[in-house]
Symmetry: C3
Subunit: 307 residues, 3 copies
């Protein structure tokens, strides 16, 4: 595995499978324990460098690092020297000089983690950059699918919603492809990227046509701030055409599952009855997020064997 | 003891006494130690979920959890997915899925911790909800009284100030009653709740009449934001009638103590000479807060015996 | 060594040398280790009490404390009871009552750490107070000079820039003097304090005249907010007269080094080619900051021998 995890494309099939297998081993190792902690990264420092607020992702990485016994520093760029005009490069060099072994970075600009990775000797993990990628989300989604369906090869995934602005969509498309799944993106034309023709996916504008053939329906979050931006006529119209409600869920095959990266807009892209149904993996995804991030930190920082 | 600590009424006399006794044992165990830490909750995760700022209470719980060797996650709802419209329920399920064993919640809405408790399998501790309750404050107050006066049964407590808006008052009234103390609330009529007639307390509007008979004077914080809300004529008028100054302190019996939950408005509800006098337990209350919260987390999370 | 570290003048030559030697021992001890942590302060609590934002300094102290195995509490005064009007004294007493062994304080008012030190029994470390002092910055600078040049006695230091508002300058002047270095301050007259005549320094207004004789050039950060305050005509003018660019760097003697406390304004007081040159110690300073702060906490809290 490479030193950094910047995008799904950093992972070939063997790497990606090793992350999922390591996460599974960690889950198994901790399941049998009173003290749900591994000593692997004791004395190592993981910095959460967040230029955008994301409490959920920050906490998931923080817990992952702490359960590996690392020290964690939370660095929110708001109100920091960044706001005094310090460059990303100087911030990176500062954190490395302080002894950080890994920097987990969330940034509003696509590509920021890649630039960071040029400047530091430690590992960089992309925790979401602009509209580009969010690779640990894709890994936890793949882990969840494998856990529920027993395989990834040949699994048919419908990815539904604002693909244009979604780093979750990008990361999932590439990783799922690497792992042998087949992806259909379903979205209004205004919410598809221009280059969609070159992605390894099918494209559909008709959710109802796709659902019966899907093993996995992955709903994307609607960003409220897009709502007024003329990407689609109205929230109600969006929900009517691309929301997953109980009626649509009934069209799914027996074993099909419903995923969402959270946080959800209940009643918008996903109905409460769907979110809370047995098909929903939403809560499992959150738990798997911690396991997968433990696996990533473990593999990148080259810890010892999990005890 | 129940799984949660949501309000003083959750604690019967045996439970409440067990919390106080456990806090005393913890104090004793740590007093003899170089390393002021117990291994009891190693590998457990405590989340401080704060929808309102309260650095003081947050730090107290954070220290309590860390001294029991738990991992602590601080989740301030500001700037989080909560502000993206995530529901309390989804936040709760997310935290639980990440492996939190206890959620310590501070919320502006009365009853929020009770709702949380319905959704999670772990423990919920109410760290203040609206104008409703703040049970660990009442426990640390009871612990402090018992420590100073040697008993709670029959102790006469004067609770002075803005009872209407005070969760500290509510929690204390119920817990003190459970533990056998007698409470007199002293406040202007505008700062008493409508249902005060059904509370197990005496009511007085005359602080000077109550002080000579009190073993404990518990001053409530005046919320500056109430000042302009026509609850009383002016700060000076309030202070003159319901503030505790040196002259009034002289009317207390020899062993009587003065309490305040903090932060104080020195010169407003309490004079500096009173706050800094030997009768004042204000600093002890803060220290006891950590011990009592350790006891609560210890009992709720069912740790092993304190070593 | 005294109980507190409030200003450089708290340190006589023996004390200051002991801090630097202890930092060197710590660096050496950790260099040979898999787990970069010492058990020295296990069970102790260090509070970062920051009334001003300074992510960089806060993280440096946080890492220093964690690498000594202390528990760390971050207390940002924003949104805390401080904003509800709690006095510095009550905040200090509260933190001490909660069991803090050391308070690391950053405050906008010169002298605030001294006042704090009167109220608490634990140790107080000044992490920057107003325009007064920032003693650990001076210690890390001295450590860096000694590391690079092998000595401090007789070293000629040029301190360049906004001396008037700089606590870094004040702390360095006194500590460098104590350790036998010779300091020349270089600044426009408007950015020198009125009492500069009583400082143990040479004064110059001509950077080009000073550079060839300097062993160390210590650039101070230009505060953008001073720029419009008529302290000097314009940014360009300042940079032209007092900025360190490649041409000026060429005038330095072969072994001379360039220092900056960070965060830098690249292109303003220091050119990128200087900041990134081999003469620059800027990244080392950051790393040394953690070591020196470990040494300070270790010596103040009287830990056991580093293992």
């Amino acid at each position: 595995m490479k030193r950094h995890l910047l995008e799904s494309a950093d992972l070939d099939r063997a790497d990606a499978t090793m992350v999922l297998d390591t996460a599974a081993q960690i889950d198994q190792a901790l399941a049998g324990r009173e003290v749900k902690k591994l000593p692997t990264l004791r004395g190592r420092t993981v910095v959460n460098l967040f230029y955008e607020d994301s409490t959920r992702t920050r906490i998931s990485f923080e817990l992952a690092a702490k359960r590996l016994s690392a020290d964690v520093i939370n660095f929110s760029a708001k109100g920091s020297s960044v706001s005094k005009g310090e460059s990303l490069k100087d911030t990176a060099l500062t954190l490395e000089a302080m002894g950080s072994d890994a920097i987990v970075v969330r940034h509003g600009a696509s590509g920021a983690p890649h630039r960071l990775a040029h400047w530091v000797r430690g590992s960089v993990v992309n925790a979401g950059d602009g509209t580009h990628e969010h690779p640990t989300q894709a890994l936890l989604d793949a882990y969840t699918i494998r856990q529920r369906l027993g395989r990834l090869e040949g699994v048919r995934v419908a990815l539904v919603g604002d693909v244009l602005h979604s780093r979750v969509a990008r990361s999932n498309v590439w990783l799922l492809r690497t792992l042998g799944a087949e992806v259909t993106v379903v979205a209004p034309p205004t919410l598809l990227p221009v280059g969609i023709g070159s992605w390894p996916v099918e494209v559909s504008y008709d959710l109802d046509a796709v659902l019966p053939k899907a093993d996995v329906v992955m709903m994307l979050r609607v960003q409220a701030e897009r709502m007024n931006a003329s990407y689609f006529p109205s929230a109600r119209e969006y929900s009517r055409r691309y929301g997953l409600d109980g009626r649509r869920m009934a069209a799914l095959s027996d074993d099909a599952i419903v995923m969402h990266p959270g946080p959800m807009n209940r009643g918008m892209e996903i109905a409460a009855e769907v979110a809370d149904s047995v098909r929903s993996t939403i809560v499992e995804q959150v738990g798997n997020g911690v396991s997968v991030r433990m696996a990533v930190l473990y593999l990148l920082l080259g810890g010892n064997e999990p005890a």
